[in-house]
Amino acid sequence: MSTPAVPTPPAQADEPVAGPVRLPIAHALNRGLRDALAGDDRVMLIGEDIGRLGGVFRVTDGLQKDFGDLRVVDSPLGEAGIVGSAIGLAMAGYRPVCEIQFDGFVFPAMNQIITQLAKYRHRSEGAVSLPVVIRIPVGGGIGAIEHHSESPEAYFAHTAGLRVVSPSNAHEAYHLLRESIASDDPVIFLEPKRSYWLKGDVDTTVAAPAFDRAQVVHPGDDVTIVAYGALVPAALKAAQQYAEEGVGVEVIDLRSLSPIDDATILESVRRTGRLVVAHEASRTAGLGAEVAARVQDEAFYSLEAPVLRVTGYDTPYPASRLEEDWLPGVDRIVDAVDRSLEH
């Protein structure tokens, strides 16, 4: 199943090139791809249904029309082929940006990603880098069927030789994508699919922080929340609720899931003494475990409460009628913050 039950985006306006414009994340990404294609001949897009259809989420809308089918390639139905051919293209000097149609369909490409893409720089002793970006819509919350709501980030974060990034708003989406394409390293670019139509001001001329840095998106001194992707808005909501009660919740948008910018996290936790990490992926050996492990080590004496994790459970993603409860959201984040504060 591929086309999810989300509304079709409004037709894209002919937006100005600079200055802040209000765009949904999907359009900011489209703009990012367009600017990357226009700025460098070696940038190419490959994926299933990305050409005439413009991708099932329309992120590549109009790009094949404007850049031709040699640069925006409707691929055969095979994910190993998408990533494997991107590797070959990168060896030939191109900068391919792959689209995997849904999170649950990246696994046929796992061999190419783990044994080839991630290891080639090391294999060649630094002689050859592979500037390949793999875009993947991730996460649940859109009422989809099986394999369309997965959160595979930990597999990639555990794999040395990859960078993993995920934007949480439109401005970041644009800039993180541009930086990912410009990077000489392979980048797994995770797009929180339920946020595709979340609008925000995008300024293509004002750079965001470097794509390997976390960012404090809400300041506070009482407790820290680390989140990324679709859970950043939830964390912000929680922070705003607490602000009304006079409790200072600092929210850090991780942005780079690998490497993790622990300096930013540690600075915050040393101040607040309390940390909640939130993600949709299953708990065991997820990113939350990594953040908790680092923080309890590096900020042991600053912690006034254990690092708490608010995560998806260690079950397969459930049928969508259950997802609202199953998914971590504002309520469960608040609950964890409360527990942290009570310690």
């Binding site: 199943m1 249904d49 413009g54 139905l77 009422g143 079950t315 409860d325």
Partner: protein, 361 residues
Amino acid sequence: MNHPLLSLLGPDGQLDAATAAPTPADGLALYRDMVMARRIDTEAIALQRQGELGLWPSMLGQEAAQVGAGHALRPRDVVFPTYREHGMAWCRGVDPVNLLGLFRGTTMGGWNPRDNNFNLYTLVIGAQTLHAVGYAMGIVRDGDVGTGDPERDRAVLVFLGDGALSEGESNEAFVWAAAQNLPVVFFVQNNQWAISAPYSVQSRVPVAQRAQGFGFEGVRVDGNDVVAVRQVTEQALASAREGNGPTLIEAFTYRRNPHTTSDDDGRYRPVTENEEWEARDPLARMRTYLAGAGVLDEAAEAALAADEQALAERLRSGCRALPVPTASSPFENTLADMPDELARQMHEHLEFVAAGEEQDR
């Protein structure tokens, strides 16, 4: 490398002269199943429009391919579908209400695959082809192939799409089936599209030709001709059951609706194509044939209409009555014995859900 397209019942409703006419009961049964399959599809689309389903992958236009294949099966044969085999599910006796659960979000499955020898829908393109191969290995090991006993010999029928031919896993399935001479029939509904990708994106030769590269037979059949589909599928299944190994069937047809209800096929294909294929409708030609043969009289039409109506009502009420799974079910169904940590997570979750319900009151 010559792959003639077998067609017995033409778009004009004329049966090939050399082909034995189906008995009235048989002809009616084929027609009825196609009508019922289409009705399931139509109702599901309506339910999706009403917000009762999240999405629905329509099989409009592919009724003959599925029902023809369905009528070639014996009860002990085992079927591995993709996500579009609603007509095949009907033929296997799966309660059609249960087809809706996956798309309503009440389940990831919907039926017990053992009840009707009809596996669960598989959404990951190509993955089921290897399960089919493994099942066929099991049949060989059970000694249920080539015994000559029709009650005993069995085969596997696995469905895949034209797009699925490009996945590595499908091709591994061909390797295994051929090298081990397994009792499995690969049934490819070449509906010419994989979402927005026309078949030319995948290949420059007919689907049926693929099998040759692996050393087994590929046959092409008019996928809108229920009589021809049944015939080639019967032959392929018989050959498999006898121990002669795999066959690939290309049922050449057309996906007349968008990929799913969420898809917008106006973006990538002209409507004229669709019109062309409407003229080759599988139901219409069978209807013409049966009417011409005096088999489908008014009484039969009325009976069928009543059956359809009853089915539609069952689908509508059944859909709304599909049970929502309990909050504990994902935890209960992850492993056969629930680990302690998962039990703790379930407990945490159930308390949370209960507290939420408390608040909502």
